[in-house]
Amino acid sequence: MSNILDIRNLTIELETSAGVVKVLDKLSLQLAEGEIHTLVGESGSGKSLLAKAIMGFINPRWKITADRLWWRHYDLLALNPVQRRLVTGRDMAMIFQNPGSYLDPNTKVGEQLRETIPQSELKGIYLRRKATRTVRAERLLHRVGIKDTAKVMNSYPQQLSEGIAQKVSIAMAIAHNPKLLIADEPTTAMEPNTRNQIYRLLAKLSASQGMSILMITQDLTAIIPETQRMSLVYCGQLMETGPTEKLMSEPFHPYTDAMLKMSFFNQDVAPKTRLPTLTGAIPTLQHMPIGCRLGPRCPNARRACIHQPRLSKVKQHQFACHFPLIEIVHHD
């Protein structure tokens, strides 16, 4: 299976008042055409920054290095800003976390949505094109499950409820049939039923049009069922990646294991009892532990963990850990 997106050892360094810090540390990720990949990690682990780096929405002061950052046959880091924007605009789309703050507050939703309909789909004279745009915009809203299209199109973003704003930004993202969709926590404001509707829509787009999707989430209980692969990141480092089922049923990495144990509410737990948590807090970037960044919070940590573990591959899992939760047969 050829990878349409190929990221190898991507590192992002930010300059802060306390010096240069690595937000992403040698992160690798591959995505095949039409594949859905879920990226999971605690808050502050660098998921949104990775998404922005792929899209090219980056601050010029950030230092981005990688052994490979390829999209189809483009070496994204070698493109100049104009070419980069062209490729992103044509092939990719992103659903931002907190869509409310990314929609233009001074323009009505309908207007913003109409503008995302690609020129190439429109024919005829000005008035005809305008009418087509409106029809297309309405159809998009229907697809994401908005019934009262007239009211929504006539609203300003701040007049929409959070869930409707998320739906609108999903509609805008799929308007030009992107080849790659990055969805950063796209359904946090939706109740399970509505969320499943959106998941069905995205899965359909991926299957019928070969759209590759990178889903970003913290909630292991609510991942899209169609996701073939899953990656877990912690503090900008890749912990484990592999087929979703394998990771869920038999995690090799202590972090994957801890996330699974915490995510699923034990149904026997009586209401109002205290819940288990991973001890400690995610460190600030200025104070990253050396070696494996999970070290201070990891139940399995030992001396060797002050060296960053390399990615190993066992039974379709790839993981970075000196002491995984399996017996590894050493061949050397």
Binding site: S45, S48, N154, Q218, T221, M262, L275
Partner: protein, 266 residues
């Protein structure tokens, strides 16, 4: 026991300008009545756009109601006087970034309510901010951060810190758990339970998660198109829901998945 909070005929209409037509009025919340006891936890559930945020904002005084009154400890709250209730009723907004001041460091934003509402020395205030940051899973280092330097989940935690820092009587939280990772979410749930046990805080929260609602709520209020369609104890709604919607909203898909997970692990 007397009620801590009483809501009477509270409603909210928004008017829309629709081109040259007369403005149309949209009902976000039809007149609603309910009350909340001290230390009680109420969950607000409903589909997207059903009026959960509107209700939460009205209670916290972040929006002015079209009609109705709110009583705190039997005393009528003035809808236009935000200061009066901001000490006793604190809100955590759904859009956390939008509710933070981008120009101020996290520390300064947390010091502000303490300056206006306590008689503490600057050193005491500073110390209290550090302690509160720790409670929500942040670090003293975050004191000097600006909001844009934090991830969404971290911003959400700053908002939670701002809500609990004055130890109010009521905390109103609008989807405060949605952007938290499981570890921090558990930490915040534990924190709220502790606050309730220690100080009898009442907690009103909007949430989509049946698991969290079951775990925390004493009563559940179901909204549908701006109307309260059901309001009863969690136990009653779980065992004997009158509305189909209630059943759907409270249904946990997680149960099946969790079972699958634990069985395959063996």
């Amino acid at each position: 026991m007397t009620d801590l909070l009483e809501v009477r005929n509270l409603s909210k209409y928004y008017s829309f300008k629709n081109g040259w037509l007369r403005p149309t009025r949209v009902c976000a919340l039809e007149p609603i009545n309910f009350s909340v006891k001290r230390g009680e936890t109420i969950a607000i559930m409903g589909e997207t756009g059903s009026g959960k945020s509107t209700l939460a904002k009205l209670i916290a005084g972040a929006e002015v109601p079209t009609s109705g009154e709110i009583y705190l400890n039997g005393e009528l709250l003035d809808p236009n006087n935000y200061q009066q209730r901001c000490r006793e009723i604190r809100m955590i907004f759904q859009d956390s970034f939008g509710s933070l001041n981008p120009q101020l460091t996290i520390g300064k934003q947390l010091l502000e309510p303490l300056r206006f509402n306590t008689a503490w020395t600057p050193a005491e205030r500073q110390e209290h901010v550090y302690v509160t940051l720790q409670k929500v899973g942040l670090l003293p280092d975050h004191f000097d951060f600006y909001p844009h330097m934090l991830s969404s989940g971290q911003q959400q935690r700053v908002c939670i810190a701002r809500a609990i820092i004055l130890e109010p009587q009521i905390i109103v939280a609008d989807e405060a758990f949605a952007s938290l990772d499981p570890s921090i979410r558990a930490q915040i749930i534990n924190l709220i339970l502790d606050l309730q046990e220690d100080m009898g805080i009442s907690f009103i929260f909007a949430s989509h998660s049946p698991e969290i609602v079951r775990h925390l709520a004493d009563k559940i209020l179901i909204m549908h198109r701006g109307k309260m369609i059901e309001f009863d104890s969690t136990q009653a709604l779980l065992t004997n829901p009158k509305e189909q919607l209630t059943k759907i909203l409270l249904q946990s898909e997680q149960l099946n998945k969790a079972l699958k997970h634990t069985t395959t692990q063996e």
